[in-house]
Symmetry: C2
Subunit: 271 residues, 2 copies
């Protein structure tokens, strides 16, 4: 496909590699929901090597909110296990830069920030199992409404590692009673995208005071006959990273994920 | 249960914690196959912290042979995510000590070798899916014969990380054609115990010259109408560790695993 042709085609029809090429060329910097269907999308954490071992330990101990799907070599911006020619400095639509736990800026390229001491860690995201739910005719309310998923801080304590600790953040999707078992079975097939729900029902049992007021994202209604179902959320590691007040930490901007070449349903997330 | 009572009972009837107590007290140092049914058993790698990040990267990139199920804090011998009061210095029946890649000794206690710079990494093992196969009435030849599983070096190159590289080692179990699909589905449910087979059939296609001469373990016959089926093997990380010639590395002795309190079929390997 020539560049001229590809520029005429909706980005939603492009392959994962074609989309990354556009992102790298500063031709696309919007959110990635629905793009490159069937390909794994990732949350992103870039941090100095001295914190990487503890962060990997933290993720290993909290695999539901923090499923590691790729780890770069120290100082190397390429991620060959996640796709062809992925350069993490340029191939994500938008990045957020934190210094000492404080948000500094949102950028579309981190080449000027990259050093030979940085390590990239890619984490699974819930886009994967949402696609699988929809394929199984289980509607996902916030997607139907064109909204961001509602996310809530909980009182579920995480297993700590070094400077990394905190409570789990969850997403909520309302389901009818008869859809729940199927949704459980389907999402459990994607352990690298948060897996099965961590709970359902009474929000106060996990420290959520008001389902109509999410801490992040947009509210969605839980209708009569529906049960709120909670999944571990990729905002968890982002909060934990921020609270650890690392001298430098770079994440993706919410919704602006790394699009890999790995099939969503791959047994292992290795390209 | 009093100590007196427990000493009279076959070790095979004891709980995971009771068996570890016996091991710690130097009352048991034999292999762990068949013990504490339903509880996850682990391969073991203990190495200096400076190599732990690369080793975790290596495992993340090669999850089939190297499924990480637990990582200790640096210098801390306790593994709280894998069970109650697990002290890795004393709770494994037999350890092997390697220095600069050379086998030095086999011991039943590593307390005198432990330092505040060591990191424990526990890896899933094939006992888990073998138990599931047997429950599903798929016989496992080497278990029926009371032998160790046959293991073979292959020409399947692993994804490297730092000083860690090499080829995959596989186990072989002969299955009848009609058992294969079921065995695939069952073992795929245990990604933290090597998951689905990595291949089957012609051994020369993965660099095995003679199935009757395994590189490790005991030979088992592939009978007429049977197909040799290959699974990734936990000897892989052991070989890779040895080839990396670390100044110090401690593993379990083959078959003498860490018995955890985590159920084999747990969605996540966190106690």
């Amino acid at each position: 496909m020539s560049n001229t042709q590809s520029n005429e085609i909706e980005v939603s029809l492009l392959s994962s590699e074609e989309i990354r090429t556009r992102i790298r060329a500063s031709q696309y910097d919007a959110h990635t929901s629905g793009l490159a269907p069937g390909k794994l999308q990732c949350n992103l954490a870039i941090l100095p090597e001295q914190y990487a071992l503890d962060f990997l330990r933290f993720c290993q101990r909290n695999p539901k909110p923090c499923p590691v799907v790729g780890v770069g070599d120290t100082g190397n911006p390429m991620l060959p296990t996640l796709g062809r020619d992925i350069d993490i400095r340029t191939d994500v639509p938008r990045y957020r830069v934190f210094r000492n736990g404080r948000f500094v800026e949102e950028v579309t390229d981190i080449s000027s920030l990259w050093t030979d001491k940085l390590v990239t860690i890619a984490l699974g995201c819930s886009f994967t199992f949402e696609n699988a739910l929809i394929r199984a005719n289980i509607p996902v309310r916030h997607i139907e409404m064109g909204r961001n998923v509602p996310m809530f801080r909980t009182n579920i304590a995480l297993s700590s590692a070094g400077p990394f600790f905190g409570n789990m953040v969850v997403t909520m999707r309302p389901l009818r009673e008869e859809q729940i078992e199927k949704a459980k079975v389907i999402s459990a097939k994607y352990p690298q995208a948060h897996g099965a729900p961590i709970g359902m029902g009474d929000p106060s049992s996990i420290g959520i005071s008001d389902l109509s007021q999410p801490d992040y994202g947009d509210p969605v209604e839980v209708k009569p006959g529906e049960v709120p179902v909670y999944w571990a959320c990729g905002v968890t590691p982002q909060n934990v990273l921020r609270a650890a007040k690392l001298p430098l930490c770079i994440t993706h901007a919410p919704g602006h994920m790394l699009i890999t070449d790995v099939p969503e349903d791959a047994e292992t997330t290795i390209y």
